[in-house]
Amino acid sequence: MNFELTEERQMLQDTLRRFLREKYDTARRNEIIGSEAGMSPEIWAALAELGVIGALFTEDQGGFGGAGFDIAVVFEELGRAGVVEPLLDSALLGGRALAGAGRDALVEQVIAGAVHLAFAHGEPGGRYDLDHVQTVADGNRLTGRKAVVMNAEAADHLLVSARSGDEIGLYLVDRSAAGLSVQGYPLLAGGRAAEVTLENTPAQALGLGLDDIKDLNALAIVAQSAEALGAMETATALTQDYLMTRKQFGRPIGTFQALAHRMSDLLIEVEQARSAVINAAGYLETDDRDLFLSATKNLIGRAGRLVAEESIQMHGGIAMTQEYELAHIAKRIVMADHRFGDTDYHLERYIALCVA
C-alpha cells in the first residue's frame, strides 16, 4: 500500500496549484464570471500549456495520464481554486469521447487548447437517468432537445446522444450545423450552459453507444467528486482561519467549544471525502467501479452540503457576500450535487447494486 502521489502527479499538482494561486484569485475569478463568455481564453490557453488538459488523456490518446488519479489530481486543484472554466465538459467528457472514437486529430487540438467541446446528453425531464434519451437519429440527422448543456455556446463541436430504434449512440455535431440552436444562460456557480435544440441537424455517428456514455460518466464522477473535495478543502481552510482570527466577546470565536467541535466535524468529513475520491479513482477500472462511484458521489454530496452550510454559518454574514472567497466555493460544492446524479440518486443506485 502506498497512498503517496507519483512524482509526475506531485509535479502536476504543485504546478497547477501554484499557477492558480498566482493567476486565479477571487477578484479575477469574479471578473471572469461576470464576463460575457463566462470564462477566460487566457486561462484556458495557459492550462493547456501547463499540460493540464493533456493529463486527462492516456499516452495512446496523445496525453500523458488519463488514469483515475490523474483526473482526481487535476480536478482537486481546479476545485480548490473554484475554477469555472469548463475542463470537465470541454476537455474530459468531450475530449475522451473523441479519443474513444479514434478522432486523434481533433483530440490533439483539444489537448492544445485550440478546440472547445460540449457534451450534450441530458434532456429535459430526464434528471440524472443516463438512458433517458428521446433525441432521435434518423440516419445522420438528429432531432430533439438537450438540457443544461455546459459550454455549448463556446463549443466548436457538440457531442450529442441520440436514439436510433433501441440503440443509443453518440454523434458529432458541428456548432454551425443547420437546425442547431443554442440558447445560453449563466449558471449560479459560474460558467455558462445552454438549452440545445436540434431540428434535422446533420451529424456524424461516432460509433459509441450507451456503455461508452457510462464510461465517460464514470470519469466525470471522479472529476466532479475531486473538484468538490478541493473546494471543501478551501472552505474548511478559510473557516479554520476565520475561527482563529475573528474575535467576539473578547476572544477568537474558535475558542468557543460549540464552534470548535463543529470545525472538528468538518475536518473529519473532509478526510472521509478524500478517501471517497481515492476509492472512486482507484476502483475506476475494476468490476466494482459503479458501486464505488455511487458510494463516492453520495458521500461527497452529504459531506459537501455539511461543509458548505457549516462554513457559511460559522463565518456569519461575511460568507454571504460575493466578494468573499467562500461564497463562490460554497456554491461550487453544493452545485456539484446537481450533476451526474445527486446524493439521493446515488444512494438508490448503491442499494440497487448491493442487492444485485
Binding site: G122, P124, G125, R127, Y128, D129, A147, V148, Q183, G184, Y185, P186, L187, L188, A189, A193, E195, K247, Q248, F249, F256, Q257, A258, L259, R305, E309, I312, Q313, G316, G317, A319, M320, T321, Q322, E323, A327, H328, A330, K331, V334, M335, D337, H338, R339, D342, T343, D344, Y345, L347, E348
Partner: protein
C-alpha cells in the same frame, strides 16, 4: 385543551382571505412566489394598501393608529399572507422602531415619527451590526460625541437591510467609552440625507443587493433625535430585539415553501414515476413536514400564551432555531427537486436573463433561494446566540 380556532378567529381568517383576494395583484404575488427582487414601489404600494385597510401596523395600539391585533390574529394574518404570496411588510419602522418609540420615545417624537411610518413618508433601516460587532453586538464602536445641540457621529454600520431605500436610520452608538460596554450605548435617529452619511452596497452570493454598509463621517445629529435617556440604548435595543422576534418561526413561509416543493416533485419524473413517489425523496419530505406540524403547534402554544398577556421568553429562541432549520431544509428539498435545472441562474443583474433561463414546472430560483436563506440562521441573533440563551435559562448561566 382546545385546538380549534374560535368562531371569531375563523371569521377573522375569512376577512383576511377576502382582503388578500381583492387587494393583492396577481403580478405582485407572482413576483413574491418566484422570489424576484421587489422594487421600492412594489413595497411602498403594498404598505399603502394595508394602511388604507388599517392593517399596516397590526402590533400597534389603536391609540397610535394600529390594528391592535392579538397574537393569534397576527398569526392568522401571517399564515394567510404567506399562502397568498403577499410581500413581507418591511419591519424596520413598523415593528422594530415603533414599539421603542411608543414605549421610550418623547411625546414629540411619537407625534412626529409614528404617522410618517404609517403613511410611508419615512423608510427606516436598522443601524445595529458593525464589522467588529456581530453576535457580540454590545462591542459596537460607532461613537456619538455631544457638541452643543448636536451629536457628532463617526463610525460604520453593516448588514443594513434595504438601506438603499431608506431616508432614516435608527442607530446604536457609543456615547460613553469609559463604562461597561452595555452602559455606554445610546439610541439615535439619523436622517440619511445629512452630510457625511454614505451608503455602500454589499452584493450577496446570489447576486442580490439587499444589504449595505452605512458610513458616518462627522455626521451632525440634533439632540432631539436621541430616544429616551443617554446611555440607556442597550435597554431599548433588547426591547426591540424581542419585537424583532415576533413571527420568528416563519411557519407561514415554511408552509408555502413545502407546498411549492410538492408541486415541483409531482411534476418532476424519476425513473418514469413522479419524484414525489420516490421513497428517498418522499421520506425526506415527510420528515420535514412532520417537524413543521409540531413546530406550528409549538408556535401556536407560544402565540396563545402571548395573546393572554404572557411575554415569550426563551421559547422565542427555540422557535428561531427550529424555525430556521425547517425553512432551510425545505430550501434544500426545493433545489434537489429541481435536479439539473437548479443550476441555471436567473440574475436580476443581467437584463432579460430571467426570460432566457429555463424554469421547468415554474420552480423559481430554488438554488439562489437556498443560498440566500442561509442568512436565516445568521441574522437577528444567530442560532448559536439563541442556543446560548436557551442554555443560560436552562442551566443558570452555565455554558
Amino acid at each position: 385543551m382546545d385546538m380549534s380556532y374560535t368562531p371569531e378567529e375563523q371569521a377573522f381568517r375569512a376577512e383576511v382571505r377576502a382582503f388578500l383576494e381583492a387587494e393583492l395583484s396577481p403580478e405582485l404575488a407572482e413576483k413574491v412566489r418566484l422570489d424576484r427582487d421587489l422594487t421600492k414601489a412594489d413595497m411602498d404600494g403594498w404598505h399603502a394598501t394595508l394602511n388604507a385597510r388599517g392593517w399596516l401596523a397590526p402590533n400597534w395600539p389603536k391609540s397610535f393608529g394600529g390594528a391592535e391585533w392579538n397574537a393569534v390574529q397576527r398569526h392568522i394574518f401571517e399564515e394567510e399572507a404567506c399562502a397568498a404570496h403577499a410581500p413581507r411588510v418591511v419591519p424596520f419602522g413598523l415593528s422594530m422602531l415603533a414599539p421603542v418609540l411608543q414605549k421610550f420615545g418623547s411625546k414629540a417624537q411619537q407625534e412626529h415619527w409614528l404617522p410618517r411610518i404609517l403613511d410611508g413618508s419615512d423608510w427606516w433601516c436598522q443601524g445595529y451590526s458593525e464589522p467588529g460587532a456581530g453576535s457580540d453586538l454590545a462591542s459596537l464602536k460607532t461613537k456619538a460625541v455631544r457638541d452643543g445641540d448636536h451629536y457628532i457621529v463617526n463610525g460604520q454600520k453593516t448588514w443594513t437591510t434595504l438601506g438603499q431605500h431608506a431616508n432614516m436610520i435608527f442607530c446604536l452608538v457609543r456615547t460613553d467609552p469609559d463604562v461597561k460596554q452595555q452602559e455606554g450605548i445610546s439610541f439615535l435617529l439619523i436622517d440619511m440625507d445629512t452630510p457625511g452619511v454614505e451608503v455602500r452596497p454589499i452584493i450577496l452570493l446570489d447576486g442580490t443587493h439587499e444589504v449595505n454598509e452605512v458610513w458616518f463621517t462627522d455626521v451632525k445629529v440634533p439632540v432631539e433625535n436621541l430616544v429616551g435617556e443617554e446611555n440607556k440604548g442597550w435597554t431599548y435595543a433588547k426591547y426591540l430585539l424581542n419585537h424583532e422576534r415576533t413571527n420568528i418561526a416563519g411557519v407561514g413561509f415554511s408552509q408555502a415553501g413545502l407546498a411549492a416543493v410538492k408541486r415541483v416533485a409531482r411534476a418532476e419524473n424519476h425513473n418514469g414515476r413522479p419524484l414525489i413517489e420516490n421513497p428517498h425523496f418522499a421520506a425526506r419530505l415527510a420528515q420535514v413536514e412532520i417537524d413543521l406540524r409540531a413546530m406550528a403547534t409549538t408556535n401556536l402554544r407560544i402565540v396563545s400564551k402571548a395573546a393572554a398577556g404572557g411575554a415569550p421568553g426563551v421559547e422565542a429562541s427555540m422557535l428561531k432555531v427550529k424555525g430556521t432549520i425547517i425553512r432551510q431544509e425545505i430550501n434544500d428539498l426545493a433545489r434537489r427537486a429541481a435536479g439539473p435545472y437548479a443550476m441555471p441562474f436567473a440574475s436580476e443583474a443581467v437584463e432579460g436573463a430571467n426570460d432566457m433561463v429555463p424554469d421547468p414546472h415554474d420552480a423559481g430560483p430554488v438554488a439562489a433561494s437556498y443560498f440566500n436563506n442561509r442568512k436565516l440562521s445568521i441574522f437577528g441573533g444567530s442560532n448559536e446566540i439563541q442556543r446560548g440563551i436557551i442554555a443560560k435559562v436552562a442551566m443558570g448561566g452555565g455554558r
